[in-house]
């Protein structure tokens, strides 16, 4: 194809069409940039990194929430591409939506490492000992770039504006599964509410659209199981990972010699 048409739903609900010359390897973001720079400088949309890591460019493309920067025009297989803002968030202008409520929901689950010994957490000189297998229990959920695509896809969010949302619940679980965290009990109470984890009905749309394979649906069910473990099985929170033992600073390990180093005559 040599040209495509972007049919964009702009402010006030009106649909405007823009014709753009197609280039091989063009992404939807490239096409939008063409429109803004060459045809209509008033077109509003967010973007920044253009490599799928900052999460700015979320929008609804052909009915599904996607990141514009990593959606190849050729993969959509259409000559007329319809673009509208991300669902479930208030429209501000054109394709720009109000994401602050989404960030507030994230904050509400206390998404940071909670330790009983705060002094140790903030002032020690060593790290916590964590094995690679333990990291892999939560690392997948730490891939979240906070793009809000899952939030836009979730049918519960569509009905309930106070639902914590797949992203926030997944982040709560990320910390609950982190072996260093000691805030398990507190987060259970935050999730076990009328607009909390019980509202999920496993439609899986969140995982379907997630651009980084965070699989929030899995995280929500795992979080739900943690809540059940406390309420039904009376499980208690465990102690967090301990600091590594003090390193033998200065003493060389058995058989390891520091390499002889030549400063090239520079040392005074």
């Amino acid at each position: 194809m040599d040209k495509i048409v972007l049919r964009i739903t702009r402010s006030g609900g009106k649909r405007v069409s823009y014709e753009v010359k197609y280039r091989k390897g063009m992404t939807v973001l490239d096409a939008l940039t063409e429109v803004r720079e060459k045809q209509d400088s008033s077109l509003g949309y967010r973007h920044s990194c253009r490599m799928g890591i900052c999460g700015s460019c979320g929008m609804t493309i052909e009915g599904l929430p996607m990141l514009a920067c990593q959606t190849q025009v050729s993969s959509l297989n259409k000559e007329v591409i319809s673009i509208e803002p991300l669902h479930n968030l208030a429209l501000v202008r054109d394709l720009v939506v109000d994401i602050l409520p989404f960030f507030d929901l994230h904050r509400s689950v206390r998404p940071y490492l909670i330790r009983n010994d705060v002094g140790e957490r903030d002032h020690s000189d060593r790290e916590y000992r964590v094995l690679a297998e333990e990291v892999s229990k939560f690392l997948q959920f730490d891939y979240c770039i906070m793009c809000a695509l899952c939030y836009a896809a979730c049918p519960t969010v569509a009905l309930d504006p106070f639902y914590t949302g797949p992203q926030a619940v997944a982040q709560a679980y990320r910390y609950m599964a982190d072996p260093r965290d000691e805030g398990w009990e507190k987060r259970i109470d935050l999730l076990d509410t009328s607009h909390g984890v019980w509202r999920c009905h496993m439609a899986g749309a969140c995982s379907f659209v997630c651009p980084k394979d965070v699989d929030p649906a899995k995280a929500v069910q795992l979080a739900r199981m943690e809540v059940l473990k406390k309420r039904v099985l009376r499980k208690r929170g465990r102690e967090g990972a301990r600091l590594v033992s003090p390193p033998m600073v200065g003493a060389a390990k058995e058989g390891v010699k520091p390499p002889p180093f030549d400063f090239g005559g520079a040392k005074e």
Partner: protein, 582 residues
């Protein structure tokens, strides 16, 4: 009516350095009632720091043979001896503390078998000291800092607020004037302490690894406020940027054993850096690559017209790539349809890191043209030039610098606010109304627009790509300066074509391009003046380093006729400059 918003500390830029400084300040205050405002022209967490991939360098294991001395030496030699050595020493001493602190705040560093933090080889380092979190170190560090910030109460976030000028009066910082994109209204942010952490200026080049937002705002605004900016001609071109976009492929790919290959299938680094090979510092590798391309041993991409070389990861095997370099695999498959386990990746040097920036001292305090502290103003991260990286930065040292200097600046700010009495600020009304006029009267209401902002921007970036790239010469640089000045003149006729107030990105573009043009002039002119090759500044007509004449930092001050240059000495405390061989 321009709204005035008061805080005790204001931080512009919410990347690694900005958020680290915010966390440091907030941790020291507890519930003291003092507040911090974090301003960003993007939403928080969207900053370019998330794109950093490879690693954060630190001496974590002296018992295995690493040492602070070695890290400092690697950094100073890597900087082509332009780094200020006392600051480098302080920097390397704090890196290990920062890594461990980040770990305790939740960063999922990759681990060794014994549960301690793992490290891997990286370019220019004589010991495997790049701490990594898969291959998305910047992203995971940003997540940890952003999440940590959620713990504090007494800070306010000002997302999508574009700062348009810095108000400095009588050598004292007063505040920032910015546009709240949400409403389109100008606001005056007032504070006793301000931290600029807005990052570098990679977008001056068309082929760049940086985000669209990396337009050098903080550096440009400091320049406009009459503050000196340092070493701007030193731009780092990272060897492996994807064709045709410039998107970064981490140095960690070479750290894990990847090869750089020319059209003859040779590992050409053998000729240029026989002992370090692909893990020589980035400027050495980029120059070697461009030499190969210029001498005809490169490939050519028909669609974009760009030349390229190959990064071969096939011999690493699918499992290693999936475990250690998953983001690279994703980028390569998503953007150019290449699976690195099956085919080599097409790459070329891409504009990546700005060694230069706002002139600061060892504590991140911004200095004016006479070397005096601009009271109440600091800068940290890529936007600052201490200088730790001198003429060339080693890989994994920038994320480390952001964390270390975020901490140093945060500490210094907190101490400053304890000791300094509150000074009644004079009226800033004149500064505010000048700004209002500049933006809303002139840019919006101009009748005719004789310049298309986007065309000027595209041409500027083409000029920089062509003449101020890895290799530079007198003719090219003179032409670049001339063209940039012509574009500056043309740009005077630019006007904002989007008449809306809410989220007017066109206005932001116009303001950004104005800044970019000024910075481009400083870069091109500074490069033209510096008649030697050092680190990231390589001239084919002056191919050698000239310590007798040019072992000094470039300082640029804004005047009505363009930048005026002066020079300041390099602080040498530990090692004399020697020949830089790898």
């Amino acid at each position: 009516m321009v709204e005035t918003i008061d805080h005790d500390v204001l931080i512009v830029g919410s990347g690694l350095a900005g958020m680290r400084a915010a966390v440091e300040v907030l941790s020291r205050w507890g519930d003291s009632g003092k507040t911090v405002g974090v301003l960003s022209k993007l939403a928080l967490m969207r900053s370019h720091s998330v794109a950093a991939e490879g690693g954060t360098a630190a001496v974590l294991y002296p018992e295995d043979g690493d040492s602070l001395e070695l890290h400092a030496w690697d950094t100073i030699k890597g900087s082509d001896f332009l780094a200020d050595q006392d600051s480098v020493w302080k920097f390397v001493s704090l890196c290990p503390i920062e890594i461990r602190q980040m770990e305790r705040w939740g960063t999922p560093w990759s681990r060794r078998e014994d549960g301690r933090i793992a490290q891997r080889p990286f370019g220019g380092h004589s010991f495997n000291r790049a701490t990594f979190a898969q291959d998305k170190v910047g992203f995971f560090e940003m997540r940890s800092l952003y999440d940590k910030l959620q713990e504090f109460r007494n800070w306010t976030r000002y997302d999508e607020t574009f700062v348009t000028s810095i108000v400095v009066q009588d050598g004292v910082f007063r505040g920032f004037i910015g546009i709240r994109l949400r409403t389109g209204a100008l606001a005056y942010f007032r504070a006793r302490a301000g931290i600029i952490a807005t990052g570098g200026a990679g977008q001056l080049w068309k082929f760049t690894a940086t985000s669209v937002s990396t337009t050098g705002d903080g550096i440009g605004l400091a320049y406009r406020a009459g503050l000196p900016i340092e070493d701007m001609e030193f731009m780092q071109f990272h060897p492996t940027g994807l064709i045709p976009t410039g998107i970064l492929i981490t140095e960690g790919a070479r750290g894990e054993g990847g090869y750089l290959v020319n059209s003859k299938g040779e590992r050409f680094m053998q000729k240029y850096a026989p002992s370090k090979m692909e893990l020589a510092p980035r400027d050495v590798v980029s120059r070697s690559m461009m030499k190969e391309i210029n001498e005809g041993r490169g490939f050519r991409d028909e669609d974009s017209g760009l030349s390229y070389l190959q990064l071969d990861l096939r011999h690493l095997g699918k499992e290693k790539i999936d475990a250690k370099l998953p983001f690279i695999k994703e980028l390569s498959m998503k953007f150019i349809g290449v699976d690195p386990a099956e085919e080599p990746i097409r790459i070329k040097p891409t504009a990546h890191y700005t060694m230069g920036g706002i002139r600061v001292d060892g504590k991140g305090r911004v200095l004016d043209g006479d070397g005096r502290f601009v009271k109440g103003l600091w800068s940290a991260g890529e936007s600052a030039c201490v200088s730790i990286h001198g003429a060339n930065r080693l890989g994994a040292n920038s994320t480390a610098e952001c964390l270390v200097y975020g901490r140093i600046v945060g500490e210094d700010v907190a101490a400053y606010l304890e000791s300094e009495p509150r000074v009644p600020s004079p009226s800033e009304n004149s500064a505010i109304s000048t700004e209002e006029d500049r933006i809303f009267t002139n840019l919006f209401r101009r009748e005719e627009s004789s310049a298309d902002v986007y065309s000027v921007k595209a041409r500027l970036r083409d000029v920089m790509d062509k003449s101020v790239y890895v290799f530079r010469d007198e003719a090219g640089l003179t032409d670049a300066v001339r063209q940039v000045r012509a574009l500056k003149d043309e740009f005077r006729g630019a006007k904002v074509t989007d008449g809306g107030r809410v989220f007017n990105y066109n206005l932001q573009d116009v303001l950004e391009v104005g800044i970019m043009l000024e910075l481009a002039e400083v870069v091109a002119q500074g490069a033209l003046n510096r008649r030697e090759s050092r680190g990231g500044h390589a001239r084919t007509d002056y191919p050698n380093r000239d310590d007798a004449g040019w072992l000094k930092h470039t300082l640029a001050l804004r005047t009505a006729d363009g930048p005026s240059f002066s020079y300041s000495p390099v602080m040498i405390t530990m090692w004399k400059p020697v020949e830089r061989k790898y």
